[in-house]
Amino acid sequence: MRQILAHSCTVARRLILSCVLAAFVTIPASANAKPTILATIAQLGEPMSRILGDCATVETLLGPGVDPHLYRLTRSDVAKALQADGLMANGLNLEAQMRSMFDRLSVRKPVIYAGELLAPAKIILTGGTVPDPHIWMDPRLWSEALSASAAATAKAFPVCAPDISQNKAVVLAEIAAIDAYIEARVATLPPSARVLATAHDAFGYFGKRYGMTLLGVQGISTESEAGVAHIRDMAQTIHDRQIAAVFVETSTAARAVDAVIEGARALGAAVSKGPALFSDAMGPPGTYEGAYVGMLDHNATSIVRALGGIAPECGLNGRLNIARHQKDTAG
């Protein structure tokens, strides 16, 4: 069972406990022909469902436009978690509300924290101490996390091992392709334009991977209040560095960005509001942007085009529809 790599001391302690208990616990589902795995966020659930293929059903808990920081569990969610044969989460405190329940469930079923499978050195620490959970913004790093999660899944569900080894390469290749695409597109931006201004600091890994400087209006959590100084300084920076666009995200309200743009324009900057980016949430399931690769394509293409770089309007795979997601960011 339970290929959970210990990320911290507490996790390690829980792990020992769960291993001890696991010896006495039968996992009814492991007898099941087709296990169900519940993933918290779609960035994890969608690629994993493709990696697992027909061998397992992967369900995603959080819908589009939902902020995982603030998500509130309902009975339906807990019931799904209880019934699932395995659980997958990003970890690193992204799913703050669910963590304690998932930890408790780990005595019964495999619980995989994708982000915590990575080497701690690769995790960005905000303020020097607090891990930044938004790893999926760096496709290379996320590939590693997915790969490790897939391996953990294969161990927990040996029946799925063949499917996993077969599908993994395909999915990871797609991700590698989008990574190369983004790198090339960002390269078309003049170095001075490689500044990503967004409403919350979800793009740390993206910036690190592609060499873009970040400017955030709010802190990393969606539950903090900004001061005027912060907004004003950001407007000033946007003016001084002649940044062409500021971006909003589908899972946070756009007010802060509007204020910054107004402030910058008052200083004489020619800045516009960029298309809404997907950060914590993805597009509706079934659409191109509802898939991990599509989400990255959307973000990168939107960013590069808005900042004056060169990128095809319909993205890497010709399936993007950037305009469609604009309505979500009103207000």
């Binding site: 009975r75 005595v107 959590s221």
Partner: protein
């Protein structure tokens, strides 16, 4: 199995929290301090943040302890400001509530604690649904004391709080009645008003903070008021009021959970509703029914007839 693991512990937590809140709520309603629950839910913020800053841990007793310290400070401030400024209770509550909450927000920024997912929601609105019992698979197993160790930690904590409150209520019943009804007479008998005010507010802060941690503030604030206020409309006897309020609290907790968990999906909603919110709404329904019943009974002829003396 689903019921035993998921619904039973959640209902038990909701029930225990509702009973503790209703118990102390009777006293607050009688003393016209019903808004204390709302005040506490905002005032604990600086304590929660302070607890985090001191220990660097986001989910530990330090934050509950910090919340308790902040709650007691806030309660003390309200009492002092009322006395010094001769302001009425609600005004003092409004001033102190906003002051302490804003202080907490500033501490959050200054300590850079906003970098953590120390979201206020989580600190204040603990999740009822997440209180699962992983241990037993059958009711027979559930009855074995060895399994009880795996009960959610909220349950023993709430049980302890409920027991302490119940004992305090029984022991100090006549003092509670005296100081709520006629504080001047109480002081003339040698029980100064500040003693009872301090004791009751401390008990309320203790009960409320413990329950916040388990079930969130919405459920607690609603359960402080709705059962006691409903019972007050139904009966004219204090002891009866307390028993009735406990009955209502129990029914509302179970009924509200049931409505959130089963009734909502049954009528075609896409998912179960938030249980704490639904329980609060159910409490409101109970209060509305009690108010309606009272109004109806008032219009009945003969309701003002003298009742025979009780030879108690």
């Amino acid at each position: 199995m689903m019921f035993l693991q998921l619904d039973f512990p959640a209902m038990l937590v909701a029930l225990l929290a509702a009973l503790s809140a209703a118990l102390i709520g009777n006293v607050l309603v009688l003393r016209r301090q019903a808004l204390m629950g709302d005040a506490l839910s905002h005032m604990v913020l600086p304590g929660v943040v302070g607890g985090y800053i001191l220990t660097g841990d986001t989910k530990s007793w330090s934050m509950v302890l910090g919340a308790l310290v902040a709650a007691l400070t806030g309660v003390g401030l309200i009492v002092i400001i009322r006395r010094l400024g001769r302001l009425d209770a609600s005004t003092a509550i409004g001033v102190v509530l906003t002051m302490l909450f804003a202080l907490g927000v500033v501490m959050l920024e200054l300590a850079d604690a906003s970098n953590v997912h120390l979201d206020i929601e989580h600190a204040l609105y603990g999740s009822l649904e997440a209180a699962i019992w992983i241990g037993p698979l059958t009711w027979q197993e559930a009855l074995q004391p060895a399994q009880w160790a795996s009960l959610p930690r909220e349950i023993p904590m709430l049980l302890a709080v409920l027991a302490v409150l119940a004992i305090a209520m029984v022991v100090a019943f006549k003092e509670i009645r005296l100081t709520a009804f006629d504080p001047d007479y109480g002081a003339a008998l040698g029980l100064p008003a500040w003693v009872s005010e301090l004791a009751i507010n401390t008990a309320a802060a203790l009960a409320v903070v413990a329950a916040f941690d388990a079930v969130g503030s919405i459920l607690v604030i609603a359960m402080l008021i709705c059962p006691a206020a409903s019972a007050r409309l139904i009966t004219d006897r204090l002891a009866a009021q307390i028993y009735v309020s406990l009955l209502i609290a129990g029914a509302v907790a179970i009924g509200g959970y049931g409505a959130a968990a089963w009734a909502a999906p049954a009528i075609g909603l896409p998912a179960a509703l938030n249980a704490a919110g639904t329980i609060a709404v159910t409490g409101g329904v109970a209060l509305a029914i009690a108010a309606g019943w009272r109004a109806f009974r008032r219009h009945q002829p003969g309701s003002a007839e003298p009742t025979p003396a009780l030879n108690s």
